[in-house]
């Protein structure tokens, strides 16, 4: 099977601010030689602690940032080689759900316009009624009452906002969804709702998903395959269950050992990172 999205040797570094004028420019290597494949309908989990380059990788996969080197193949086509206009025309196939539902919705835009935004780009000729109907339909699928169309983001809770963000991501029927810690900014009671919703929608829409999290339990629950990142490098990857039962890298073992467990005595055997 050919992958929906494939990354080959992606590298990305950022210039660090100089301490003094004459200091040599130093760079932070955020993502280093990362390669990955996502097959149709498959969920790839990416775990790692904060600062491990997960979010940078997400932005690279979304072609929101240009990699320093490497290729990003979307259905066999290298997105990094396209012009801005060509890239825009292909964006609707890859959508993203962000971590912070308070920052990912424009506070000055009505829910109707927010959710319809990707649709406006792909089908600009849509009539007002059709546009409204499409938005109402997708809102219903993510579990929101379509009456909310005329409201503004500040009138919603974090969980509802994340549902709105998911609706926006799915309205153009993407083939792949990149979810960057979609539940970690939410209350624990809401987290499960959002994660279950994503799992359901994945089946309903036949989505492939890149699921980024620092929470191994969630990744284990949602993903078919997983990758472990540390300092911008992939240290381990494989079938999710295989990684959990037989981790091959020390860092993976340490992460798994550090997972909180219910109904267990204090874990004296936990390895230190």
């Amino acid at each position: 099977m050919s992958p929906v999205l494939e990354a080959r040797d992606l590298c990305k570094s950022y210039a660090l601010p100089r301490g003094t004028l004459l200091e040599r420019q130093r760079r932070l290597q955020a993502v280093k030689n990362v390669s990955l494949r996502v097959e149709a309908g498959e969920t790839l989990g990416i775990v790692g602690e904060s600062g491990s380059g997960k979010s940078t990788l997400a932005r690279l996969l979304m072609a929101l940032e240009k990699p320093d080197s490497g290729q990003l193949l979307w259905q066999g086509e290298d997105l990094t080689a396209l012009t801005a206009a060509e890239l825009r025309a292909r964006r609707h196939g890859i959508q993203m759900v962000f971590q912070d539902p308070y920052g990912s919705l424009d506070p000055r835009m009505r829910i109707l316009d927010t959710v319809a935004e990707p649709l406006d780009m792909t089908e600009p000729g849509l009539s007002r009624e059709d546009r409204r109907a499409r938005v109402a339909d997708i809102l219903e699928r993510v579990g929101l009452n379509p009456e909310v169309l005329a409201r503004y983001p500040h009138q919603f809770s974090g969980g509802q906002r994340q549902r709105i963000a998911i609706a926006r991501a799915l309205i153009t029927r993407p083939r792949i969804l990149v979810a960057d810690e979609p539940a970690s900014a939410l209350d624990v009671s809401i987290q499960a709702q959002i994660l279950n919703l994503l799992a359901d929608l994945k089946l309903e829409f036949g989505l492939a998903m890149v699921f980024i999290s620092h929470d191994l339990g969630i990744v284990r629950y949602l993903s078919d395959r997983m990758m472990v990142m540390q300092h911008g490098v992939v240290v381990e990857e494989g079938e999710t269950e295989r990684v959990f039962t037989a981790p091959s890298h020390d860092y993976t073992r340490a992460l798994i050992a550090a997972m909180p467990r219910l109904f267990e005595e204090e874990d004296h055997g936990a390895q230190r990172l």
Binding site: R59, M62, L64, R88, A89, R91, H92, I94, Q95, M96, F98, Q99, D100, G103, S104, L105, D106, P107, R108, M109, T114, E117, P118, D120, M121, T122, Y152, H154, A165, R168, T172
Partner: protein
């Protein structure tokens, strides 16, 4: 937000004064008690009375009528000069923000710094010496100095907005840079721009009064508060009201717009975003 605004004292007072100035200017467009430019030498330097509420000047012109026409003049200067600054400045600032760190960004911001290095009114005088005195040129000179103010503010505010995830989402949706600036960035920096516009409006009125006082702004016979002040100097001991009324008008208008700006700043403060 509206109820919160109406409970804010400086917003309410500022708005009231501003509306008063605007109302006077609008009325002056259709009606003044006397013709503001008609001279009656027989009735010169009359103190305030029932026929001439604010008295007459050395040519027998009605001071109230001149003040009313002067309000029109002041508002015209404010609207056009701030308009020039807003439109050009915000465009430059937003372009600079989208190209943060680029040569273009550096060029725009260093030119802004350059103009900031000179006192605005002094350079306006310089510009007017080149362009020649007159209201239109005064407006242009004041407008030019509003450009870097708005450019800098727009750039800073736009950079903040553009770091938000909804901008990334818009890009992922396929919006162009211009589309993002227009649909997302501009609506989210409008509050800051409105606040600054009201402050700049006050400064523009003050600058026009200053330039007209020096004789290089509004030219006779068009009434201007600044020139009325200048004219009154000769008669300060005989007819002090000639200085008091235009002086008070300038002070009131400037105070009004400043208070309005202060009030708006609090009301539109993003940190207290309860609507």
């Amino acid at each position: 937000m509206i109820t919160r605004a109406l409970r804010h004292p400086s917003f309410v007072v500022g708005l009231a004064i501003t509306l008063l100035v605007v109302l006077v200017a609008v009325i002056a467009a259709f009606w003044t008690p006397h013709d503001a430019t008609a001279m009656r030498i027989s009735a010169r330097l009359r103190p305030p009375s029932a026929t001439n509420w604010f008295g007459t000047d050395q040519f027998g012109r009605d001071v109230l009528s001149m003040l009313m026409m002067g309000a029109r003049n002041a508002l015209l200067v404010g609207v056009v000069a701030v308009g020039i600054g807003l439109s050009i400045g915000v465009a430059l600032g937003m372009v600079a923000a989208t190209r943060e760190g680029s040569l273009l960004d550096e060029a725009i911001m260093r030119i802004c710094d350059f103009t900031f290095a000179f006192p605005a009114v002094l350079t306006a005088i310089l510009i007017l010496t080149f362009l020649g005195p007159g209201l239109v040129n005064a407006i242009i000179a004041i407008g030019i100095f509003n450009i870097p103010v708005f450019a800098r503010i727009a750039r800073g505010a736009a950079l903040q907005v553009m770091a938000r995830d909804y901008i990334r989402a818009a890009r992922a949706a396929g919006r162009t840079t211009f589309g993002i600036l227009y649909r997302h960035v501009l609506p989210n920096i409008t509050g800051i721009l409105i606040v600054q516009a009201s402050v700049q409006f006050a400064l523009a009125i003050l600058a026009e009064a200053g330039l007209s006082y020096l004789g290089i702004g509004t030219q006779p016979p068009n009434p201007s508060w600044g020139r009325m002040l200048n004219d009154s100097q000769t008669f300060l001991s005989q007819a002090s009201y000639l200085a008091i009324f235009p002086g008070a008008a300038i002070a009131l208008a400037v105070l009004g717009f400043n208070l309005l700006g202060d009030g708006l700043r609090d009301v539109l403060d993003p940190k207290s975003k309860e609507r």
